[in-house]
Amino acid sequence: MPYQWPAKRTLIGTSVPRLDGALKVTGKAKYAFDRNLPGLLHAKILRSPVAHAKILELDLTAAEAMPGVKASHVVKTVGGELRYAGDEIVALAAETEEQARDALRAVKIKYDVLPFEHSEEEAFKKGGTPKVDEAGNVEEALSKADAVIEGTYSAPVITHVCLETHGLVAWWKADDELVVYASTQAVHNTANGIKSDALFKGIPNLKVTCETPFMGGGFGSKFGPDIQGIIACQLARKAKRPVKLMLERDEEHWTGGNRPSAFAKVKAGATKDGRLTAFDAVTFGTGGHSGSAEFPLPYIYAPETRRRKHTNVAVNAGDRRALRAPGHPQGCIVTEQVMDDLADKLGLDPLDFRIKNIPDAGLFKTLKPIYEKEIALGAEKIGWKKNRHSRGDQTPGPIKRGLGCALSTWGGGAGQAQATCTIHPDGSVEVAIGSQDLGTGTTTLVPLVAAEILGLQVKDVTGKLGSSIYPPAGGSGGSTSCGGVSVAVGVASMKALALLFEKVAPKLDAKVADLQASGGRILATNGKSLSWKQACAMLGQQPVVGSGDRKDGDTKDDQGKIVSVMSSQGVGGAQFADVSVDIETGEVRVNKIVAVADCGMVMNRILCESQVLGGVIGALNSALFEERRLDPKTGLMLNPDLEWYKLAGHTDIPEIEVHLLDYPERGVIGIGEPPYIPGAAAIANAVTNAIGVRVGDLPFSPRRILNALAKK
């Protein structure tokens, strides 16, 4: 019998406030940034002040003699190429942060300043080899289409802006024993990354532990030690003292990761009954000095005839990293604007046009009825039938109002994870798993799942996570943690419970199969029962330990295909936006967002809703505010801060309505990324619906709105 979730659930799907909430609201939660160890040194990195250069001379003599300096580490030396403003050169560790900063200024360095590229549009004009993806004859399909639209759409590079910057505290407890307190979304990867780094892999029997009980945001950018983590470990080793190296805010913007830009010129055609028949796109984007800028296009919809030429271009700026559903928001932003443009041209309702074009194959076959349900619910909640007008609000006055919609999809299958569940003779329960909590709620999820299986309350179970000393689990990316952790913990708890049942079955004159754990008791079908404590006391001296692996949740179906009834992947989502645009000032205000999210079996309702709210707000930021600006004259980032790199304040946040579609029969599916995908496209469509013209380029700053209106 494959492992499966209990048919009757008392905790899963309810709302359990996060267990570490009290620590976070009182300031007692210790993040990497907060670790102050005895003898701690502070490290800072000297970075390239120019967009592209070669190091001609480098002299650390004066810097190393500065007050408080205890260790130095050269990352790039004479002859080294600096590929962007912010590229690492030298790091110093000193008694205080102030001394470390002072000492960096005493580093003597000469650069040969080289030509640089700051603009992906300029880089694209210079050429490059596009990747071509083609099916059918696009020209012919376009010529036969009843309506053809042509447009350009773009989304700029945006940065992750983790509030806790990247970095770690490194502490060598012994020559071959290193502990790091890291801000990471992957404790095991971080420990392994340090262990296998060229600087340390020669150390015999090196033991590296990564501790991350709390971390201040990752969003896809914190999967390993990174160069600054390695630097901190090396400085700590040289100084024989613990070293803290957390990036400054500007460094975080320069080097802590970003989402690649996406530029698209699209020609698309459809028949008058609303079938998308041709999609022809020339696209490019930058992932920095060496990163790529791929994104799926067309997104969701798959017209038989399509052509795409995509070019990755390089600029002298920091490299890309995964950012919440990598590639999908860009694909969604382009495709969903095209869909509205076509629907408007054909005079069709954009919702009907979408439903008509959702593919009938593969995953989308499963998702199509879900999308239909989501679209119907979202349309009702946003007032689509009543308030949605054709393109351009015709009412008098400068404030124009509009509605828009966009769809999304994502995987979110269970990631690799192992866990142990230990039931002690005193009745206490410990569940250990080497996963981590990014603010997503894993700390609460672990005991919630175990308590459900063991028939206990959440408070009866101690969850142990956020450290690489616990059984390996994958990094928290791809929305895979909720599924992986739930299944591994669930199975580990089932196995531990089975061992307990073996011990107590004779005492209850029952067979193991006739026992169940519920309401803090072990119940037999013969009516006899024991309290949890009484039952555990029968274990004698030894606890019982169940080990679970995410893979234990897999089973084979009739065709021999591996399936899991405890988790699955593949979700569809729909979001609706209601916006007002002042056509005199160009200001866009979002009045309301309705987010309908599909996430299989909801594990913890309140935290699941928070994930969706967070995704919506993230998307709103990218639609209205966020943009990495590089100076054409110097190649430097103009806004590596939090006032010119704009994020929403409280007064920018609209009313947000979240609707979770619960499909427990599909098992657990991750929700971290999907709700971040469609919001920006929904806002884009609502803006066009309001003002009657397509703005196309994100973010919708007053300047862009007014420029678009001027071209009307």
Binding site: P17, D20, G21, A22, K24, V25, T26, G27, K28, K30, Y31, F33, D34, H42, L46, P49, V50, L56, T96, E97, E98, R101, D102, L104, R105, V107, K108, K110, Y111, V113, L163, E164, F214, M215, G216, G217, E248, R249, D250, L438, G439, G441, I606, L607, S610, L613, T634, L636, M637, L638, D641, L642, E643, W644, A648, G649, H650, T651, I653, I656
Partner: protein, 224 residues
Amino acid sequence: MKKKDKRRGAPSEPSSGFSRRNFIQTLGIAGVSATLPLAQGCGAPGSGPDVPAEGIGPSAVEIALNVNDQEVRVQVEPRVTLLDALRDHLKLGSADPVDLTGSKRVCDRGSCGACTMMIDGRTVYSCTTLAVEAQGRKIRTVEGLGKDGKLHPVQEEFVECDGLMCGFCTPGFIMSGAACLEKKPNASRDEIRAALDGNICRCGTQTRALEACEKAARRMKGRR
């Protein structure tokens, strides 16, 4: 309320692509190649960190701070901010170290609110307040908000309503919300919103942070 939304206001620093720090850093780099365009037009030197504050410094001085009704003594250079003094320097000067790392350094230039503390009942950005300036005043941090081991109503409601995710911005939000409601327990939704407007969150907790403050307001109002 203290906070003006700087993102909408006049720039506090020129948007030349230089943060305060890398600007200083750049000036300090000796022997920069002549072809480097950055050395020009960066403002006059002399406003750098080497000009001592009148009377004290530039080396570390011992100061006394009243934090959460407790006196702490700390050795800091006059240029050290109140935030950094409490987060990083307490261990250096104190025999009985108090670990006050609840207030967070996120932007380090008064635009995100993560470092929000109260001084004499008013909220301040502690990243733009010098430690030496805070002597003789009553400083309150997120660690000192609860009383007698009990959470402040705003703290309680943040947990109940899930007004937090990663939690890094949370202490700042809580201080802004608590300061607003202690001053005006019947604050309206818009007033609370304005009070929280200077706090930035990346996870997207604003909706429920507002809900938490509104619930706390109802409780605090009832108590009077």
